[in-house]
Structures are given as structure tokens and as C-alpha cells.
């Protein structure tokens, strides 16, 4: 008996011990102890933590540097001259209020490099306001006498009725070029870092993206890049159409077609067909229509099952959009209409409290001074409208995101609507236009080559993905026409193909004044003559190859940039040098008017000016027979390099990727 008890006790002790061990083991596994077996894991975790710390640190440092990096900005020669002439006019005519200040580049070398045309305007004002009749020439002379001492003007001449022609100092231009080469392409000084929000692309869920969205996407992306380059903090918002009554019918249809959608992801490949089908049912089946409305209510009350359905549908679209964004190298933060749903009640309340709301036939409407159409902020059934959600978005961007500059890249058709929303925002005191810039960067429609709305032959809207695919095919054809496939490696050819295809589509869009309608033509955009991406890309690779053929490497160039003077004796050297330095001036203008085609025009001008220079000035002299390099004119290679870096930065802002060889 005792022995058995002892046995049992021993067994019990053993089992208790085992339980302890197992409990400990479970604890260990809970804490990922199972992974602890790998000795490298701990090390990798450490490394990961360190990398995260460093990343965070570098971000902080970057911000620190940005906040005080203004000193290395590129000089905008035009605004320098404006300052000088502004001071001169002020000194000459201290009593004149807001005198006209006009400085432009001269069209011909004989008129100098820049000209100031203010004298004529001042003469007019003196005559009208003060009844003094003084000849513009006399005024010009007085202005010239008062120009403060400076480092950029060589001499001024008065020509014709009173034009002041400015000749720049060669050593000044040369120094600016050296600094550009040493410091890289720097943005013009734009003052303090601002928060910029660009609302662009903004397609609708469950509908195909069309060429209109393409314009918004391309222009918006490019604007963002420009604002980022000059040092602003840019938030790129995709104001997706992801909310609204159409989701009622989509969800109802989803429930019918895939009843187990909550557990099994529904295989909706073609969302457009799905949309059409549900639309058809909505228009024809009375029951379905009723149920669709119920679904809207359920969705708006945030019923989880309906939210899930909504999300599933949005995801299908999102994936499609993402493909296009990836092709075109577009970065966006998704923040669709749904994001603002819960804010709309407060918007209505705020307008009511401030006494701006009128009730008209059950609707709540807001009249905005200077705008013909009132905003409807609540429908008679209590629902909200685009007016409400756009007001909510505006408010959120101003107050939560604290935007200093807010730009809507939306087609011109929305102009009245957006201007009314902006005016309402000002009326209620959300922003002061003197402090905060809210702008509609409108654009015209895309036309087919027949000058009619861009459609497929069968009359459907053109699917964007098909368009991009066609672009790729056409680009390849073009490259093969030029027998580039025989020169380039497979990889280089493919890089050239995408660079040309997507570069051309973007450039064609950007190089036209966005306010005008524009004709979409693959033939034109792929032409390698004229103001096209194809031409510029070829020109760029050619410039890049000059130094390479002269076997001058980057280090030698850098050294030369630091030590050698960029000589600007030859007329074409001088022309090119000045053209290169107009880059900050061009950017500054775009920051003001948001017209990116100016940048395209400039790049085209730069490329042609370069060609003139290259045709007239030997960069590298070779022996005619042997082809051996006899002499390298380093200062000219520096001019090539400066042209190339400015072009590359221009491409970067336009979202075009140049290739080394094509």
C-alpha cells in the first residue's frame, strides 16, 4: 500500500513538473520564443530597429537642412533685374504709386540680353495722373541714371522710343553657370516652406478612368513635382468618387450575384460590365431599384456588411487605377468623398449658424455673392450633394491640413462649381485669399484627331489602359523604324520604349496650354522633330554622349567645374549660357500661373539653342583621319553638362524619365 502511495506521489510530482514545463513552453511560444531559435533573428531585429531610427533621423535632418537651405538657390536673373529697375524707378519717381515694372528677355541680340520697357508706361501715367508730358526716352534716361550698383549689368542702352536694353556681365553669367555645375540644379528662392495640397486625378469608383482623368493626373503630378522641388511640403490628394447613390445598386447587385461575398472574395474582373449590368437592372427592375435605395441607407448608417461590400467594390477599382498610376509613375494619397461624409453635418450647421442658409422648396441653399448659381448644401430628402462634400473637403484642407496653397486640377467644366465653393469659403471666413491661395487649375477637353470628343471608332470612351498599351506599341514601331533595335540591347530598347511612350503622352499633354482643348495624336507626339518628348529625349541622350565620347568622366567634369572658367566668348556660347540660366525664371513663372507648357517651351528652346551652339562650336576636336581626340574644350563640355543637368531637372518635373541611350 505504502509503496503504491509512494509511486502515485512520485507520478504526481512528475506530472506536475511536466505541466510546469509545458506552461513555460506555452509562455515562451507566445512571446515568439519559437523564433528565438534562429540566432540571426535577434541581430536582424536590432538592425531593423537601428535602421528605423536612422531613417527617422535622416528625415529630421533633411527637414532641418531644407529649412535653412535657401542660400544655395539659383538666381532668377529676371527678378534680379526687376529689383534693380524697381529701385531705379522708385528713386527717379518717388511720388509714383505702383509704377509699371516690365522686364523681359530680348528677342534679338542687338537689343541686349534683357530689356526694361517701363518708360513708356510711366510716360502714360505721368500724362494722365499728373498732366506732365515727358518723353519716354527722357524717362528712360532718368531710370538708367538711378540704377543701383550691382554685379550683373555690364551696360544699358536706350533704344527707340524708350526701351532700355540690358547687357549682362559675362563674368556674372559664367559664375552662375559654375555654381550651377558645382551645386547642382537648385530651385529659385521661394521664401518659407509652405504646405501645398494638390487635388488631382480623382476618378470615380466603378467607372473606367478616361482621358479627362489622364489630363488631371499628368498635370497634377507635374505640379506636385514642381512644388516639391522648390521645397514645399506637398500633399497629393486623390479625391476619389467613392460615395454616392450608385453604390446602392452596386451593392444590391453584388448581393444577388455573390451572396457569400462576406466570406468569399467576389471575382469581379470587369467592374465596368458589372456597373452596366446593375445600372440596367436599376433602370428596369422596380424591386431592385427599391432595394438599391435601401442599400444606400444601410451603407450610410455604416452597417459593417454593407461597408464590406463597398470596400470590395472600391478595391477592384483601386487595383485598376493603381496599374495606370504605376505606368505613369504617379504618387497619390487616396482621400475620396467618403472621407468627408461625417463632416458634412457640421458644414450645414456652420452655414446655418452664420445665417447663410435659405430654404427653397425643402432644400437648403446658400447664395454666394458674385456667383450666379447657389450652392445646394442639403437636398429636400436630407441628403448631401457635391457642393456639401466639396465644402467639407475645402474646410478640412484649410483647417486640418493647414494648407497655404490649395490647387484643384479639375477640368474647366467644373469651373463655375469650384469658383462658387471657393467664394463660399471666403464668404464664411475660412480663408483670406491674400494669405492662402486656393486655385482651380482648369484644363480643356481632349479631342480626337477629328477635333471631336476623343472616342474609339465605335464611339465608346477610350479606356486609358488601352491607350497606354497603344502608346507602347506605337513607340516600339517608331524605334524599329529607326532601326534602334539593332543598336540597343533588349533592356535598353525596352527602357527606351517606355520612356518614349509614356514620356510622349505626358509631354504632349503638358506642352499645350492646359486652358485650351487639346488634340490627342500619337503621330504628332511621337514625331522626333518639333516640340515633342521624342525630340527632347533624343537631344538629351546626344548631349550626354558628348562627354562620354571625349572620354571625360564625371570626376574630371566636377573638377573642371570647380577650377575652370566657363568661357562665353562665342556668340552661341553666350546665347546658350543665358538660356540655361533662365530656368529659375521659368519655374517662378509657373509657380505663379500654373501653366506648365512654359517649361516645355523652355526645354525645347534650350534644346534648339544647344543645337545651334553645338553646330558652331567644337567641344571635342578630333583628327579627321584617325578619329583620335586631339583637343577637348573643357569649358564647352561644361556648357553641355549644364544644359544636360537643367534638362534632366526639367524632365524630372514633367515626370519624364530620360534614358542614357536610345
Amino acid at each position: 500500500m505504502e509503496a503504491r502511495v509512494a509511486q502515485a506521489v512520485a507520478r504526481l510530482a512528475r506530472q506536475e513538473n511536466e505541466i510546469k514545463c509545458l506552461t513555460a513552453e506555452i509562455e515562451r511560444l507566445k512571446n515568439f520564443g519559437c523564433l528565438g531559435v534562429s540566432p540571426s533573428l535577434e541581430g536582424l531585429r536590432d538592425e531593423n530597429a537601428k535602421l528605423k531610427y536612422r531613417l527617422n533621423f535622416l528625415r529630421k535632418s533633411l527637414q532641418e537642412e531644407r529649412s535653412k537651405a535657401v542660400k544655395s538657390s539659383m538666381i532668377n536673373i529676371n527678378s534680379c533685374l526687376q529689383e534693380l529697375f524697381g529701385a531705379a524707378i522708385q528713386a527717379a519717381y518717388p511720388d509714383l504709386e505702383n509704377p509699371p515694372l516690365v522686364v523681359t528677355t530680348s528677342q534679338q541680340p542687338k537689343f541686349g540680353d534683357y530689356q526694361c520697357n517701363s518708360a513708356m508706361g510711366i510716360a502714360q501715367i505721368l500724362l494722365k495722373r499728373m498732366e506732365q508730358k515727358i518723353s519716354p526716352r527722357e524717362i528712360a534716361e532718368k531710370i538708367v541714371q538711378n540704377i543701383p550698383s550691382n554685379e550683373c549689368i555690364e551696360k544699358v542702352e536706350i533704344a527707340g522710343p524708350g526701351f532700355i536694353n540690358v547687357h549682362l556681365r559675362k563674368d556674372f553669367v559664367s559664375r552662375q553657370l559654375s555654381s550651377l555645375l558645382v551645386n547642382g540644379v537648385q530651385p529659385p528662392a521661394v521664401g518659407r516652406r509652405r504646405k501645398v495640397i494638390v487635388d488631382f486625378s480623382s476618378p470615380n469608383i466603378a467607372k473606367e478612368m478616361h482621358v479627362g482623368h489622364l489630363r488631371s493626373t499628368i498635370i497634377g503630378e507635374s505640379m506636385c513635382r514642381l512644388f516639391e522641388f522648390v521645397g514645399h511640403d506637398v500633399l497629393r490628394l486623390n479625391h476619389l468618387g467613392d460615395w454616392g447613390t450608385q453604390f446602392g445598386m452596386l451593392i444590391a447587385h453584388l448581393q444577388d450575384k455573390f451572396p457569400d461575398y462576406l466570406t468569399v472574395s467576389p471575382p469581379i474582373g470587369d467592374l465596368q460590365a458589372f456597373y452596366k449590368e446593375s445600372k440596367r437592372r436599376f433602370d428596369t427592375e422596380e424591386d431592385f431599384k427599391k432595394r438599391a435605395y435601401q442599400c444606400v441607407v444601410m451603407l450610410q448608417s455604416k452597417n459593417p456588411d454593407f461597408l464590406k461590400a463597398w470596400n470590395l467594390i472600391c478595391d477592384v477599382s483601386r487595383k485598376e487605377f493603381q496599374k495606370i498610376y504605376k505606368c505613369l509613375d504617379i504618387t497619390l494619397v487616396e482621400r475620396g468623398e467618403s472621407f468627408y461624409q461625417d463632416m458634412m453635418k457640421d458644414i450645414v450647421q456652420e452655414f446655418e449658424e452664420k445665417g447663410f442658409v435659405q430654404v427653397d422648396d425643402g432644400r437648403k441653399i446658400v447664395f454666394v455673392p458674385g456667383c450666379s448659381v447657389p450652392l445646394t448644401i442639403m437636398k429636400s430628402d436630407g441628403g448631401y450633394t457635391y457642393d456639401t462634400s466639396d465644402l467639407a473637403a475645402l474646410r478640412h484642407r484649410l483647417f486640418e491640413e493647414k494648407a497655404d496653397i490649395l490647387i484643384y486640377v479639375v477640368d474647366s467644366g467644373q469651373s463655375v462649381h469650384l469658383q462658387t465653393v471657393f467664394a463660399a469659403g471666403r464668404m464664411i471666413g475660412w480663408y483670406d485669399p491674400k494669405v492662402t491661395r486656393v486655385a482651380h487649375a482648369a484644363f480643356g477637353v481632349v479631342l480626337g484627331e477629328d477635333k471631336k470628343k476623343f472616342r474609339t471608332r465605335s464611339g465608346d470612351t477610350v479606356r486609358l489602359m488601352d491607350l497606354l498599351d497603344e502608346g507602347l506599341n506605337r513607340a516600339m514601331e517608331k524605334l524599329k523604324d529607326k532601326e534602334r533595335d539593332k543598336v540597343l540591347s533588349e533592356e535598353e530598347l525596352r527602357a527606351a520604349q517606355t520612356a518614349v511612350a509614356f514620356g510622349c503622352i505626358k509631354y504632349a499633354d503638358l506642352s499645350h496650354n492646359r486652358l485650351n482643348d487639346y488634340v490627342f495624336s500619337f503621330d504628332k507626339m511621337l514625331d522626333d522633330r518639333g516640340n515633342t518628348a521624342a525630340y527632347l529625349l533624343y537631344a538629351f541622350t546626344r548631349i550626354r554622349s558628348i562627354a562620354r565620347l571625349a572620354t571625360v568622366d564625371e570626376q574630371q567634369l566636377q573638377k573642371a567645374a570647380r577650377e575652370e572658367v566657363v568661357v562665353l566668348e562665342h556668340e552661341k556660347e553666350w546665347k546658350l549660357g543665358k538660356c540655361i540660366l533662365r530656368f529659375p525664371e521659368v519655374l517662378q513663372k509657373i509657380l505663379d500661373d500654373l501653366l506648365l507648357h512654359t517649361l516645355c517651351d523652355y526645354l525645347y528652346e534650350l534644346a534648339t539653342t544647344f543645337t545651334e551652339f553645338y553646330d558652331n562650336c567644337y567641344c571635342v576636336e578630333k583628327d579627321r583621319q584617325s578619329g583620335v581626340v586631339v583637343k577637348v574644350n573643357m569649358w564647352r563640355l561644361l556648357l553641355c553638362e549644364a544644359t544636360a543637368v537643367v534638362m534632366a531637372k526639367g524632365f524630372d518635373i514633367l515626370g519624364i524619365k530620360p534614358v542614357e541611350r536610345m
Binding site: 531610427y53 529630421k60 535632418s61
Partner: protein, 605 residues
């Protein structure tokens, strides 16, 4: 240690160093022809006649300078600015002695630190000065909150109050500004040598040593901004140290957040750079440190002077080491991990928390430090010397109680019925008595009864009565009750008043109506004196563990006088030793640690 001593002797021989001396390779000087004196006092005799710590620290024996007279110290480097700086220093401190205890908050304090605490706090106290507790938290990787509080607890436990609690990290901004200045003055440069290249014998001088200051400033800025990876760049000071080490590192890159400065920094200063400057900021008069830092004395002076800031005097003293133990953090972690000890405060360790838990009074530890002395010599002590100090204090402080570790039930058949008064300190009855019950059933140690006796055996046996401590009774065996196996289960005895009986040969302790308790008995954790010494213990310290270092008796009995004792209360259990209540104790069951036995080598019959 020998090299250090030689260095020290050389230092005395050649007199104060000038900056020119420091620039030279010190190799030449190290070949001193002096015979080294055995500076290591092993088994230093601890006599009770040693002067108290305060007396020692106040005495002339320490040839320390007076505040403001730093320049009178041998080896102190005087620059054209020294006198003005000292004047300023005196204006700040008013001539007060200022010391600091600067532990790294990356581990638990051990017995060696007790000496540093005693020396720094004690010296300030003895001279009417103040002592800072400064956490040397320059290394961001290891610091944990628990170490900060534990260190402060231990300082206070030893009976000292810091004048202020500071952190090296409090001064990071100032240190950084000084680093920029140091570069500007041409005394420091950014270096890209790898750690491996700097370490080892005769490392190649840095090829970046002579780069322009402007360049170093830019690169140092890049270091601060996170542009260099760890190990890709360091800031180094241009000086040669006593041991020939060239250009110690002042700053290195670490992508680790800091306990106190959060993610503000990714460069952290080193000990060599931080220590003297923190001392300078706090206007420390005497920067006391152990002798390993002697080789860094010149860099200490050099750096303060390179920046033209107040320069304290560094004084070195010998480290206190104890045999039969390990104190390094890494090794204790290994012991905890392998289960050899229960935790950092396992009473077999010599961390201060462990000693407190074991029941060592702070006073005893302070006395021990005083007896070791504050000489320059390194002292390596036997643990029994510390234990002697413990007994000395506990003899005075721990009241008596009786406990039986291996109880044997004894029934007194002719029981007289009474309570017994036990003196708290038998040597001094004015210190009170406590009452313990004395009932017919008592328990004695199993080993205090034998059936067969030999000549030397004086305790209870059939026919050999024994006295019961404090009762005034003698018991005699009447009947021995055994189990089937012949094992003695119980005794029946009769008692006689001691004045009516012959004087018994011995008195034993006993308990009646006792409390059950757990008793933990400790022996040395290691078998060898120097468990870390590969010559003595080739298998490494983990192979040297004493298998009998802990014995747990969970069926011991103790008298009721200890009933409401709080953790760390101390008692002398008659004939067994000094015991301390362990924090593991619960209301249901007390747990006692044996602090020490009553005598150094408990007699065994």
C-alpha cells in the same frame, strides 16, 4: 595592476607631467628600472583597531589638495588660464569639497561599488562637502529604468544622501558645443578608421588626423545628422595617453534612442570625453576613481585644458575585489540564465541587493570598506573578513530567538507548565526580554539526541540529561519511541528544575508551539578563490559552482517571538547563526536566510 603601479612610481619619480611629455610615446618611460612593489594586498588583515572611515578620510594620510589648490597636486597641468579658472571655481563652490559617485546605470551595484560610495560620500561628509550621484548614461544601449532606481536605493541604504542626482546626458548639449569648439581649436578630427583598425597593438595612426578643421566640422555635422552609418565615422581627440593609446574616440554614431534624451541624438560621447567635462561642469574638486583610470588621467587634464574649462583633480584609489565570487554584470546574467542563482539579488551573490537580502547590515559593509582602507593599493579580500564585520554588527543588533531546523518531538511527561522569558540580548539584560511558550510538547534538533554516545558528546542521550536554554529545567530521557524501521520518532522525557539536578554537561535550544518556517542556508557559490582565473578554473566560472551553495529546509520550526517580523528583520537563532527575514516571506510562512553562522567555522561534534 603591476603596470599601473609602475606608472604611478614613475609618475612620482619624474614629477608632474607637462603637455610636452604627454605628446611623447610613453613607451620609453614605462621601462622604469624600479622594482615593483607588491601593491596587491591579499587577505589584508582586518583588525578591529582600524580607524573609522571618517577619521581616515579626515586625516592627513590622504594627501589630497584643498579645494582651489588643484595646482599643488603632482601632475596637475597648469595653463595660463588655470589660476583664473580656479578663482571662478572657488566663487561657485565657496571652497566646498565636491565629489561625485558616477556609476553607469547598466547594472546592479556590487561590493566593489560600496567602496566607491563610501569613499566619495564619506570624503565629502568628513570634510563638510557635498557629493553628487551622477549616472554616467552616455551609452544609450543598456540603460533601464530599474537600474537607476536600484542604484539610488543602494546609495541610500548605505546611509548616504546625494547632494543632487544628475545624469551625464543632462549635459549632452554642452558637450556637443564643446566638441565643436575642440574641432575648431584643432584638437579633434573626424576619423573613418574601423574599430578593428584602432584596436590592437600599434594601430596605424589615423590618415585623417591632419584634415582641416572646417572639413571635420562639416563631417561632424553630418555625423549628427545621421549621414554616417555606425562605425563609419568617429570624432577623435588628438592626444596620446599614458599607455600609448593614441587619439581616443570622443563621439561615435549609434542609432539607438536614449533613455532620457529620446531620439534627439544619434551621436553619443564616450567615457573619455564625457567624464572630465561633467566633473568640470559640476565643479567637482576631487574626482576619485579606481586605479584602472590612471592611464586616462592625462587625457582628463588634457581635455579640460584644451577647452580652457575648470579642471578638477583626478585621484585614484585601489579597487576592492572579493574572492570566491564574480561581480561583472555579464557573468551574473549568465548565472541567472543558467539557474545557478535565482536572480540578481540571490543572497549567494555579492551585489549590494544580494547582501541586503542575505541580511548583511549596511553598517557592516561600511565598516568593512573602512577597514580595507582607502589606500591606493588594490585589495583582494576573503569573504570571511566581510562576514566578521557582519557578526560584529549583528551581535549588537540581532535579538535572540530559537529555531529548530530538523525537529524531533519531545514530550515532557511531568510538565510543570509555565512561560519562559528569553533575554533579547543575553549579554545585556537591560535590553529586554520576550516571552515564549513552554508546553509539554517541545521540539529539539534531531542532532541533539543520540542513543549511542561517545566521549565528546555532551548533549541529550539515554542516561545523559541536558539543559533547556532559558527554562531553568533539565530533561532526562524516559522513553524512546521508534517507527517500524527503528527510526526515532519521539522522545518522552521527564524534567527537573536545574537547581535540583546535577549541572548538565550542555544546554540545547528548543521550541514549543512553534511556527513552521522555511530556512535557506548558504555556502560559497564557487569552490575556488578566483573562479574567473583560467589558471585556477580552466573550465570557466560556470564549471566551478559549489553544488551545496544553497540548502533549503522548508520544515524548520521557529519560536513565536518572530511572528510579525518584517522582511530584512534580523535575529540570532541560538546556536545556529544570524538570520534575516527574506522578502519571499508571506503571512502564512516566514522565510529566513542565514546571513552568517555564529562563528567563522562552526564547530562540528
Amino acid at each position: 595592476t603591476i603596470k599601473n603601479e609602475v606608472d604611478l612610481q614613475v609618475l612620482h619619480l619624474l614629477g608632474p607631467k607637462t603637455e610636452a611629455d604627454l605628446e611623447k610615446k610613453p613607451k620609453v618611460r614605462r621601462k622604469g628600472r624600479l622594482k615593483q612593489k607588491a601593491a596587491v594586498v591579499e587577505n589584508g588583515e582586518v583588525g578591529t583597531e582600524t580607524l573609522s572611515l571618517l577619521e581616515q578620510l579626515r586625516g592627513e594620510a590622504l594627501k589630497f589638495h584643498k579645494p582651489g589648490e588643484n595646482y599643488k597636486t603632482e601632475g596637475y597641468v597648469v595653463t595660463p588660464n588655470t589660476m583664473a579658472l580656479l578663482k571662478q571655481h572657488l566663487a561657485v563652490t565657496g571652497g566646498q569639497v565636491r565629489t561625485r559617485f558616477p556609476p553607469e546605470p547598466n547594472g546592479i551595484l556590487h561590493i566593489g561599488h560600496a567602496k566607491a560610495i563610501n569613499f566619495n560620500f564619506g570624503y565629502a561628509k568628513a570634510n563638510g562637502g557635498v557629493c553628487f550621484l551622477r549616472y554616467d548614461d552616455t551609452n544609450p544601449e543598456k540603460e533601464e529604468e530599474k537600474y537607476f532606481t536600484a542604484i539610488r536605493d543602494m546609495v541610500e541604504w548605505l546611509g548616504y544622501q546625494p547632494y543632487a542626482v544628475t545624469h551625464a546626458s543632462d549635459y549632452f548639449d554642452q558637450l556637443y558645443t564643446w566638441a565643436l569648439e575642440l574641432i575648431r581649436r584643432g584638437h579633434a578630427y573626424v576619423c573613418h578608421q574601423k574599430v578593428e583598425e584602432i584596436k590592437g597593438h600599434n594601430p596605424a595612426p589615423s590618415p585623417w588626423r591632419d584634415r582641416p578643421a572646417e572639413e571635420s566640422l562639416l563631417l561632424f555635422e553630418d555625423m549628427r545628422k545621421g549621414k554616417f552609418g555606425e562605425g563609419e565615422a568617429t570624432l577623435r581627440m588628438k592626444l596620446v595617453m599614458e599607455d600609448g593609446k593614441m587619439d581616443p574616440v570622443a563621439y561615435r554614431v549609434k542609432f539607438t534612442p536614449h533613455h532620457r534624451t529620446g531620439d534627439k541624438w544619434c551621436i553619443y560621447p564616450t567615457y573619455d570625453y564625457t567624464h572630465c567635462l561633467c566633473d568640470s561642469i559640476e565643479h567637482i574638486t576631487h574626482s576619485l576613481c579606481t586605479k584602472e583610470f590612471q592611464a586616462r588621467r592625462s587625457s582628463y587634464f588634457w581635455l579640460c585644458n584644451a577647452l580652457d574649462v575648470y579642471c578638477p583633480v583626478q585621484w585614484e584609489y585601489g579597487r576592492l575585489n572579493l574572492l570566491y565570487t564574480v561581480v561583472s554584470k555579464r557573468k551574473i546574467i549568465r548565472l541567472v540564465e543558467t539557474g545557478a542563482v535565482r536572480d540578481w539579488d540571490d543572497p549567494r551573490l555579492f551585489t549590494l541587493t544580494a547582501l541586503r537580502r542575505r541580511g548583511f547590515p549596511a553598517e557592516a559593509i561600511n565598516n568593512f570598506c573602512a577597514r580595507v582602507g582607502v589606500t591606493v593599493a588594490q585589495a583582494t579580500m576573503e569573504p570571511h573578513l566581510l562576514e566578521a564585520c557582519v557578526r560584529e554588527v549583528l551581535n549588537e543588533k540581532a535579538p535572540r530567538a530559537m529555531a529548530v531546523l530538523e525537529p524531533l518531538k519531545v514530550t515532557i511527561t511531568n510538565f510543570p507548565a509555565l512561560d519562559v522569558l528569553v533575554p533579547n540580548f543575553p549579554a545585556d539584560e537591560t535590553r529586554g526580554f520576550h516571552k515564549v511558550p513552554f508546553q509539554p510538547t517541545i521540539y529539539i534538533e534531531e542532532t541533539d539526541f543520540r542513543e549511542d554516545i561517545d566521549k565528546g558528546y555532551k548533549r541529550l542521550a539515554p542516561g545523559q540529561p541536558v539543559g533547556l536554554r532559558h527554562t531553568g529545567y533539565v530533561i532526562a530521557v524516559q522513553n524512546v519511541i521508534k517507527d517500524a524501521g527503528g527510526r526515532v520518532m519521539e522522545l518522552e522525557v521527564t524534567c527537573t528544575k536545574s537547581d535540583a539536578a546535577d549541572k548538565p554537561k550542555a544546554f540545547i535550544h528548543w521550541v514549543s508551539e512553534p511556527l513552521a518556517c522555511e530556512v535557506r542556508l548558504y555556502e560559497r557559490l564557487f569552490l575556488h578563490k578566483n573562479p574567473e582565473d583560467p589558471a585556477e578554473v580552466p573550465g570557466g566560472f560556470l564549471s566551478d559552482l559549489n553544488p551545496d551553495s544553497l540548502r533549503v529546509i522548508d520544515t524548520a520550526l521557529v519560536d513565536r517571538s518572530v511572528l510579525s517580523a518584517q522582511p530584512f528583520s534580523k535575529f540570532q537563532f541560538e546556536r545556529l547563526g544570524y538570520f534575516s527575514v527574506d522578502p519571499d516571506s508571506s503571512a502564512r510562512k516566514l522565510v529566513f536566510n542565514r546571513t552568517v553562522t555564529l562563528k567563522e567555522d562552526p564547530g562540528k561534534d
